[in-house]
């Protein structure tokens, strides 16, 4: 009986996590140290991990239901404007920055502290286990899986034990042979890799978190807009917008240059299947020069970024840049060249155009309106019917007055506030609506002329780099590898006990599963059969696969029909 208890002790100690599993009640009044210890045990218990995981899932939900500032700032502002007080409350609570809110951060930080507190001791226990011998066979095997007892008259206990040992070793068990009172036993153990995999999984999760944090600190991302025929050379001043992590160093910006040689877009044409006007493809041909290398040509597409050392460039947007010349009444050219227009988001690519001519005399001039790739003007006003430039035209109005560019307030180049300006009118006092086709010129009553000289396209790119990206992927894949080991490697023990009995031997075999292991029972009885069979002189059949089930062994129950 005393031996029995020892056996139980052993098997509960077998799993490192058992010891950590569940919170042990704190002994009463242990003072500060005891309380801290108690809290730490609570935090690193499986229940806490489980609850934190569920909380993490729940906390992420509002991040998908409410617009997020980091994902879609415009939508967030709109939501705030529409929801007044309620919006403000939500904003204070962090519902528009869920993934950087204190409560979300608290949950995942606690989870990872719990995780580390959980892994560290388990690693120690596991390393010791890897070096230790498989533990002693329990004195009473009857209680264990697949228990088989055979009396083999005429069998030799030594040979039996040896062949059991050999068979188990061949099936990749770690084994230990032990002398016991009146008997000898082989303890065998397999599947420690399961725990190794589990630890690898959890450690790699910490790695993923560290890499993501590292990426946040060191990465950068900027937006650029390049018109066909123009070039770009990488430096901070060239970006429309740029954001970077706290540890980003400007000098790390790789120097590369490129010219956008051609931009092509194709759309679903009338008569083709699909929604007419829906984009089919976007292609940007660029000629790239990096230091120390020959210029190379590449076509950047959606999903096919340009990679240079230290940066990648993604095609994320495009639009039209009509070439417009504005001459003031005094005859000087006050605006010339391609103007980037901003698509309004309809399928027809109706695009907003703003030209500011602060140098125009006698008054500063702003030209605003629309570029229409396939234009029409009807009761809905000017708009475009189709995204390709089949019938390109400009629909513009002209405004004069102080553009306010000297006020010192930074201005958006694509917007102008016309409410403070006077619209140019004809002799009847009606606003002048300028409609221009390529090659045409329009003269306003005051002598200002506007000409539509040609059409180019532009492409918008994101340039981004995250030095930790690769390591994040490595950690994620390592975690997956560990996960697979941890889920699909069965962990088990087998015991063979041989006792000499008058003129023969008594064989006992049993196993213990430490994970889902439907094959264990069968493997135990197979081992018993083959050992007994060998002794009977039937030959060592089935020994080889006694512990290494082939997948086809799996359908005991499947043979019914």
């Amino acid at each position: 009986m005393s031996q029995d208890t020892r056996g139980r002790d052993e098997s509960s100690r077998w799993s490192s996590k058992r010891e950590l599993d569940g919170a042990r009640p704190a002994p009463p009044s242990l003072g500060l140290r005891g309380t801290l210890l108690f809290l730490w045990r609570q935090l690193t218990s499986m229940q806490t991990a489980l609850i934190l995981l569920m909380l993490l899932a729940i906390a992420a939900v509002p991040g998908s239901l409410y617009p997020q500032r980091s994902v879609n700032p415009a939508l967030t502002e709109q939501f705030l404007a529409e929801n007044g007080r309620w919006g403000e409350i939500l904003d204070t609570l962090g519902f528009f920055d869920v993934f950087s809110s204190p409560w979300f951060s608290a949950i995942y930080l606690l989870l990872f502290i719990s995780l580390i507190g959980c892994i560290v001791p388990r690693v120690g226990v596991h390393l010791r286990q890897l070096r230790a011998q498989p533990p002693r066979a329990p004195s009473r095997l009857t209680r264990f899986t697949g228990y088989t007892r055979r009396e083999l008259p005429g069998a030799d206990a030594d040979t039996l034990l040896q062949s059991a040992h050999r068979a188990l070793r061949r099936s990749r068990y770690r084994t230990a042979v032990r002398e016991e009172t009146r008997s000898r036993s082989v303890s065998a153990e397999r599947g420690l890799l399961r725990e190794s995999g589990n630890l690898l999984f959890h450690i790699s999760l910490v790695g993923v978190l560290i890499c993501i944090a590292g990426g946040q600190l060191t990465s950068y991302r900027g937006q650029i807009t390049v018109i066909e025929g123009d070039g770009f050379s990488n430096s901070l001043t060239q970006y429309d917008s740029f954001e970077s992590g706290a540890w980003f160093d400007e000098t790390e910006l790789p120097s590369f240059r490129f010219t956008l040689e051609d931009f092509r877009a194709t759309y679903v044409q009338p008569g083709e299947s699909g929604t007419v006007g829906e984009p089919r493809s976007f292609e940007a041909d660029v000629a790239v020069t990096t230091p120390g290398q020959e210029q190379r040509e590449q076509t950047i597409e959606v999903n096919k970024p340009l990679h240079v050392d230290g940066a990648s460039m993604y095609l994320l947007g495009n639009g039209y840049a009509p070439e417009v010349t504005v001459t003031d009444p005094e005859g000087s050219v006050v605006a010339e060249g391609p103007v980037i227009t901003v698509p309004m988001g309809d399928t027809g690519y109706t695009s907003q155009l703003v030209i500011k001519a602060p140098d125009a005399r006698p008054e500063q001039t702003a030209v605003v309106g629309f570029f229409l790739p396939t234009g029409t003007i009807d009761e809905n006003g000017p708009h475009s019917l189709y995204p390709d430039a089949l019938d390109p035209q400009l629909a513009l109005t002209v405004h004069q007055g102080d553009l306010g560019l000297d006020s010192g307030v930074p201005q958006n180049a694509y917007e102008v506030d016309v409410t403070t300006l006077t619209q140019v009118t004809d002799e009847n006092g009606d606003p002048v609506l300028v409609r221009l086709y390529p090659g045409q010129e329009y003269e306003l009553p005051d002598g200002t002329t506007i000409s539509f000289d040609g059409l180019r396209r532009y492409a918008a790119f994101d340039v981004a780099h995250d030095p930790f990206e690769r390591w994040t992927l490595v950690c994620a894949l390592a975690a997956t590898g560990g996960l697979i080991l941890s889920l699909f490697i069965p962990r088990r023990r087998l015991w063979v006990r041989v006792r000499e009995a008058d003129g023969g031997a008594v064989l006992e075999v049993a196993g213990l599963a430490r994970s889902d292991d439907p094959m264990l029972e069968e493997d135990v009885s197979k081992l018993a059969d083959s050992l007994a069979g060998e002794e009977d002189g039937a030959g060592p059949d089935g020994l080889r696969d006694s512990g290494a089930p082939t997948p086809t062994d799996d359908h005991r129950e499947g043979s019914a029909p």
Binding site: A60, L487, F488
Partner: protein, 357 residues
């Protein structure tokens, strides 16, 4: 570019498959109903014997409870013999409702796959660019997985009703609400092999989640049923009954411990698939948008699904959560999957919004 005739053929195949699924469903349901009527005292006796046998059986010390599960498998076999093997069943070779349903389900699955494949050929791309294609492809995978399980373990055929039913519902939804004409891909879905990898793994993961949820729900029902029966038997009832006809249906199904371990296996493979879905999705997002993670609603929900299934696997290893409570967590995970494909795709607008929906 798009072969319209083939696309119509694909549609036809799917419609016929739906009809066959309906027939198969009727067959499976009829089988459950009739076999529950055939329930005999003998079977009841077998179960009592099983309970008696199980009581003194040592509980496994391990987390998995594998040996108890093993014993239960045998118990289930006795309690629920395959229809054509039981003494009161028809002779082998005759057409039982279940076999009829199984064959129909097989035929329907073949047509179903044909529909998916012809759609792919018609559009010259992988068939999962919109909700309709995603739904038809993933249900096909569910059926293949189910049939594969059934061929290996015949007693699982009894679950047919609970698998074909949901598949049918999804297919009908797809066919009525989500259907869009066959079309080529929008640029963001083009020229990326990651699209193929990411979404095929996602389909596999979804399919396994559906299957897992079916098994987990049955497990919950079954364990409640078993507990009630044991209770009644302990109260001295000679032929304990619980939940009437439906109880008889449950008697036909494998024991809750068998369902539990099946649910675990399905969910663990599903979890690995979800993990790959996340990773490949991140790789693809980096190629397409220049960042591997951006908390887009679809990404958020895949993350939520992953975390819930991780919680399920944890729960299974946590004292006090094993069994039914863990099964509830798994069902919560499935709820997130459903939410991800319905509300997130249709109501919440993100970068993932599929073309045409």
């Amino acid at each position: 570019m798009i072969n319209q005739q083939l696309a119509e053929l694909s549609n036809l195949a799917l419609v016929v498959a739906i009809v066959l699924y309906v027939l198969a469903l009727i067959g499976f349901a009829a089988d459950l109903a009739s076999s529950s009527q055939r329930r005999s005292d003998a079977r009841l006796a077998a179960r009592e014997a099983r309970e008696a046998e199980r009581a003194p059986q040592p509980a496994t010390i391990g987390a998995g409870g594998a040996s108890a599960g093993g014993a239960a498998i045998h118990g289930a076999e006795e309690a629920a013999p395959a229809p054509d093997a039981g003494a009161d069943g028809p002779a082998p070779g005759t057409m039982t409702a279940q076999r009829f349903a199984f064959l129909l389900a097989g035929a329907a699955t073949v047509l179903h796959i044909a529909g998916v494949v012809t759609r792919a050929i018609a559009t010259q791309r992988v068939p999962w660019a919109n909700m309709y294609e995603f739904a038809t492809t993933s249900t096909a995978v569910v059926m293949v997985a189910f049939l594969a399980f059934c061929i290996r373990r015949a007693e699982l055929r009894a679950l047919g009703t609970f698998v074909v039913g949901p598949v049918l519902v999804v297919l009908l939804l797809a066919q009525t609400f989500w259907i869009v004409p066959a079309a080529a891909l929008t640029p963001s879905l083009q020229n990326s092999h990651w699209l193929v990898i990411h979404i095929s793994v996602a389909i596999l993961a979804t399919a396994l989640s559906i299957l897992g949820a079916v098994v987990a729900s049955l497990q919950l029902l079954q364990s409640r049923h078993e507990r009630a029966l044991v209770q009644r038997a302990a109260d001295g009832e000679e032929h304990p009954e619980h939940w009437g006809r439906f109880g008889h249906v449950l008697d036909r199904l494998p024991a809750s411990s068998v369902l539990e371990s099946l649910s675990f296996r399905v969910h663990s493979v599903a979890f690995v698939c979800w993990t790959f879905t996340l990773i490949f999705g991140a790789v693809w997002a980096r190629d397409a948008w220049g960042r591997f993670w951006g908390w887009d609603p679809k990404e958020v929900w895949t993350f939520i699904i992953w975390v819930i299934y991780a919680a399920y696997l944890h729960a299974r290893a946590t004292g006090g959560f094993r069994g039914s409570r863990a099964a509830w967590v798994a069902l919560a995970g499935f709820l997130a999957v459903v939410f991800n494909y319905t509300i997130v795709n249709t109501v919440i607008n993100g970068l993932h919004s599929y073309s045409g929906l």
